[in-house]
Amino acid sequence: MPERKSSLILALARVFFDQASTWRLLLFTILGYAFSLAVILCTLGLMDGFSSTLKEGLRLSSGDAILTNQNGFFKINNATLEEMQIYGVKAIAPVVQTEAFILHDGKSQGVLVKGVENEEMSRVTGMDFQLSEGEVIVGETLANDWRIKNADYISLVLASGKEGDLPQFMPLTVKHTISHGIHEKDSRLVYVGLDHLRATLGIENKMNVALLSFGTTQVNVAEVQERVDNLREILGRPWILKPAWQEFSGLLEAVEIEKTSIAIVLQVIVLVAIFNVAAFLITLQTRKTREFFLLNALGMPRKRFFTFACSVLFTLWLMSCGFAYLFVKFFNYLLMNASWLQVPGDVYVLTKLQVLLQFSDYLFVFGCALLWMVILGGFAINKMQRTSLLSGLRQEFQ
């Protein structure tokens, strides 16, 4: 019996796809539909990729959350430390953060200097810090702009904390450069040893920023936000606790809102592509109506024909999804590797964009495409269903 079924399917396929032009039309319909789906996926993926890369980049410089104090410099006592641990804080990196001028090769520029402890900073950010006294890590963009290489000498000029004192001068050797993937961070941040900076500024065992990690392996916005909210409530004033992405929260929120509205607007592209599918169906219907009615007259139930038509549509949809997936991967590859697709970091915040899509994104886009297909296919099938067999035969053969 399966052999008989397959021979009927083959005969049907031969009847309905007998002309090379039908195959060509089918191929271009699939490619057109796939391209439209890929455009939507890439747009959504770029936005997701932007949010994700930004958050990951911020995590590399600031961990999950940033703790400061209204009074400026502070120490964390044991009671506060215990409370933080109870609320899920797994690691704390003390940081002294100050603004300074960097001097190199006769040039100068304002930078943000972070004094960090190697072990704690590595634990909180996941990056490798191995600073010794007299060494500095420089942001990658800054290093590239200034042609700073490893083992070069630079100087930092820091303001003194006391009125009338001269600026403090820190001669340093470049240990290596560092990339956060965020243009602003890579062009402004330099890292020095915490003790060295404290000694230079005359601050004993204090910090003005503490970076916290909740020990999550990936940035989970909702989870981190909840933990930060809970901990903020417990700590109370004068503590100020913010998620690491707080400084870009407006941007991230805008991207999220844009993502939804663009997804809706981009349905227009699917609509245009669906016209191609409609053209394919109309052509097939026009060319093959006589075959449909004759097969029906010879004993093929309409239900079986409609099952065949639905299978063709489903295959068309499935292949379009497959090609769309490949197009997205190819675009992402180009985005990551082709120099002509690199974005200007000062405009887009990030130095590199990538397409990042979740299963739900594919589900949404492919689901909408399937819905359009069902509506269109249902319409075409319903039209044929309403025509009586005899009038169909007469109309088509006489």
């Binding site: 009927l8 009847v15 010879l298 004993g299 009586s388």
Partner: protein, 220 residues
Amino acid sequence: MNPFIRLQAVEKSYGSSHVLRGINLDISTGERIAIRGASGSGKSTLLYLLGALERPNKGRVEINGKNLADQNDEALAQFRNSSVGFVFQFHFLLPSLTAWGNILLPARIGGHDVAAVEKRAKDLAARLGVSALLEKWPHQLSGGEQQRINILRALSLNPPLLLCDEPTGNLDSQNSDKVTGLLRELVQEGKNTLIVVTHDDKVASTFERKIVIEDGQIIR
């Protein structure tokens, strides 16, 4: 004993146009009948009702005691496939299949034993003189050849009922005689019931029973 086909008070209309009005007809197994009438008299509609291509608006169309109006679309399709052979005026061969592909189409649609049908079809092809045409495409065949392939397809499953709508309408007189003769010969051997709609008096005269339809009613 019930007749093979029984029509009781059958009416058929399309919109406001009444095509058949109260048709009553009994047909026995193996009968050969010619239906005649002017254009638009309803003879083709009657034939299509018998072949379950259409449903009546009123009345009963019974074949072997089963009322076709009570059957669903799938059952009617199955009935058309295994119990009815159609020979249409316009040959209705699918251009995308060879003559052989067209002949085997009903067997493939109905899930029949294709090998057995192939054997029968080859025998019939030899009888109809079309053995050399089986691998040809419909556009490579003449009108008479196409009609013989059409007859071969209709008889490939040896259906108990063979319905022909103007089978010689498009043929010259020589081909027309040949096709009619072959049809009669084949159904006689297969004991099929043959109902033919025709304008042609000469064709009709060769049938034992003749029915004349006028304005949707059987007048004799």
